[in-house]
Amino acid sequence: MSTSDMTILKAEPIAPPLTPQQLIWRRFSKHRLAIWGMLGFGLLLTFIILGSILVTDKKANEVDLQARLSPPTQLHWMGTDSTGRDIFARMIHGGQISLIVGFLSVIFSVSLGAIVGGVAAYYGGWVDTILMRFTEAMLSIPSLFLLIVLGKYLGRDMQTITVFGQSYSGSVAIVIVVIGATSWMYLARIVRANVLSLREMDYISASKSLGATDVRIFFRHLIPNTMGAIIVSSTLGLAGAILNEAYVSFLGLGVQPPTASWGNMLTSAQSFIQRGAWWMWVFPSMFIIITILCINLMGDGLRDAFDPRSTRHL
């Protein structure tokens, strides 16, 4: 190395090395589409949160038979449905439900997947065999069929739940459990594969010999080291959960009216589309598509950010 190089090196203040989080953020922010997805999703959240404050849920459930099936007007920006309820207000409150269902069922399925996969790999042996056979069994039943069967099973009797002064149909809780319980299997497999290789690492033997309990090793070492996979799959899982909510509600097994969700708004659209009520179909669909598109774009960016080898995918 020549002396001039040395002086340049000395003159430049050396930046502290980037933390893994900074590296991930840097890679993520280079992904243009992912940033657009994040912005879009942020806008959507703002719309729903602000909307929920400005438009009451009473307004969303207000029946006005005089104004049944009205196309979009100054009064009803997105028209009205078959009982004259304002679709704009229902979009806001339906979106609230769809997103709550999405987030909570992802939390449920991710915890389940991480625990099942982690326990199976960490203990191995017959625990592993039984858990993985069970995972495979769940995966072998086509997801929509499984959703329906589980939805019917859990939906036998329902009550109304009241949270923060708003009453929700008990179906919301059931939908969350149903979607969560049918979508943990892929993550369980990923976590299992990761933990299988992590288990052999020296630092795990080190902490074992220091007397760390299984629970501590599990939550302090194994799970944090598979965080990348967990974050990516929960982002993509959120899109899947919102889509699944739309499917089960569309089939009439999901969120029950009068509580609105984007999915069950489309159920009623199905019967009136023959009469040309396009607005009942267009608005909920558009919101579902845009939401899922934004989340998928973010998920794609996150996958590339966490796994630099996969940058070719976009």
């Binding site: 056979r133 069994a137 769940m138 086509p142 069929f145 069967v149 089939l251 669909s285 598509i289």
Partner: protein, 319 residues
């Protein structure tokens, strides 16, 4: 090789056993199978109890399960509570309709997405690639009923209104024996399925071609002066097709179940709709029968796919 298949088969039997227990509990308990008689004034409580006794519904659950399993192994899936017909007969009546719909869809989807995927990969980041990428992103962010309802609104309802030749939706009664009628009724559901299916497949094909095109042996092939066309069709495509084999192999058993939502929207007399109709009625023998057939197909095809894979890709060894 045979040892591998035997081991996989034993595992598969175990998996199937878990599936049957799971499905039996979920479907048997999700609704009262005799709910249809609940409001029947001609039946006294004693009559209902007698019927329950005759159908074996009052026995302990494990007994009911093993009875069902014993008959199912012999190919007897029981009778529907609602239509009184044997479940296997009902399925065999619906299955051909579903297979016609689903195989047409699968073949068109593979062809279309091969073309789109290759174009996208070869002209990476071109305008065409960006358009295809955008469409596939939108496509797999879309619930199928969005397209199904939209297509129905435009091509059936509006076209009829405007006096154009319109497509039938299936809500009308039609003669399933007439081939022309049949094809006409297939157009809309198949198109919707193809749009959604292509979105995923095309993206997948693009990715796997790009992955192969970045490899050393492709560079070698180029370096020795092969034309782009030769490199693509002789070298890249063959290897890029490998992951496609897996995906198709895993999708085929799903075709048996049909497209539940699409079949329901277009009133297509297939398996998906059969399942949905009887799931709503809580008619568990029918629901259970369909679940058993589809998931067995999934389990079997997973093994077949893995074995076939070793033939097409000699780098992979079964262990």
């Amino acid at each position: 090789m045979w040892a591998y298949i035997a081991r996989r088969a034993i595992q598969a039997l175990f998996t199937l056993l878990i599936i049957t227990v799971l499905c039996f509990i979920l479907t048997r308990l999700s609704a009262d199978p005799l709910a249809q008689y609940a409001t029947n004034p001609n039946m006294s409580t004693a009559d209902k109890e007698a019927l329950r006794e005759r159908l074996g519904l009052n026995q302990p659950l494990p007994v009911q399960y093993f009875k069902w399993l014993g008959l199912a192994i012999q190919g007897d899936l029981g009778n529907s509570f609602f239509s009184k017909q044997p479940v296997s007969l009902m399925i065999s009546q619906r299955l051909p309709n579903t297979l016609k719909l689903m195989f047409t869809y699968e073949i068109i989807t593979i062809l279309v997405s091969l073309v789109l995927g290759i174009i996208s990969a070869v002209r990476q980041y071109s305008l065409l690639d960006n358009v295809i990428t955008t469409f596939s992103f939108i496509g797999f962010s879309m619930p199928i009923f969005f397209i199904a309802l939209g297509a129905m609104l435009i091509f059936a309802v509006k076209f009829k209104e405007w006096g154009f030749p319109y497509l039938p939706t299936g809500a009308d009664i039609w003669d399933q024996k007439d081939p022309l009628e049949y094809i006409k009724h297939m157009i809309l559901p198949v198109s919707c399925l193809v749009i959604i299916g292509t979105a995923g497949y095309a993206r997948f094909i693009r990715t796997s071609i790009l992955e192969v095109l970045g490899q050393d042996y492709v560079r070698t092939a180029r370096a020795k002066g092969l034309s782009n066309r030769m490199v693509l069709y002789k070298h890249a495509l063959r290897n890029a097709a490998l992951p496609l084999v897996t995906i198709i192999g895993l999708d085929i058993p799903g075709l048996l179940g049909g497209a539940l939502v699409t079949e329901s929207v277009y009133a297509w007399p297939g398996m998906g709709r059969l399942f949905w109709e009887y799931a709503q009625r809580g008619d568990f023998p029918v629901v259970l029968g369909i679940l058993l057939i589809i998931s067995s197909a999934v389990v079997i095809f997973t093994i077949i796919t893995d074995v076939v894979y070793t033939f097409v890709d000699p780098r992979i060894r079964l262990s």
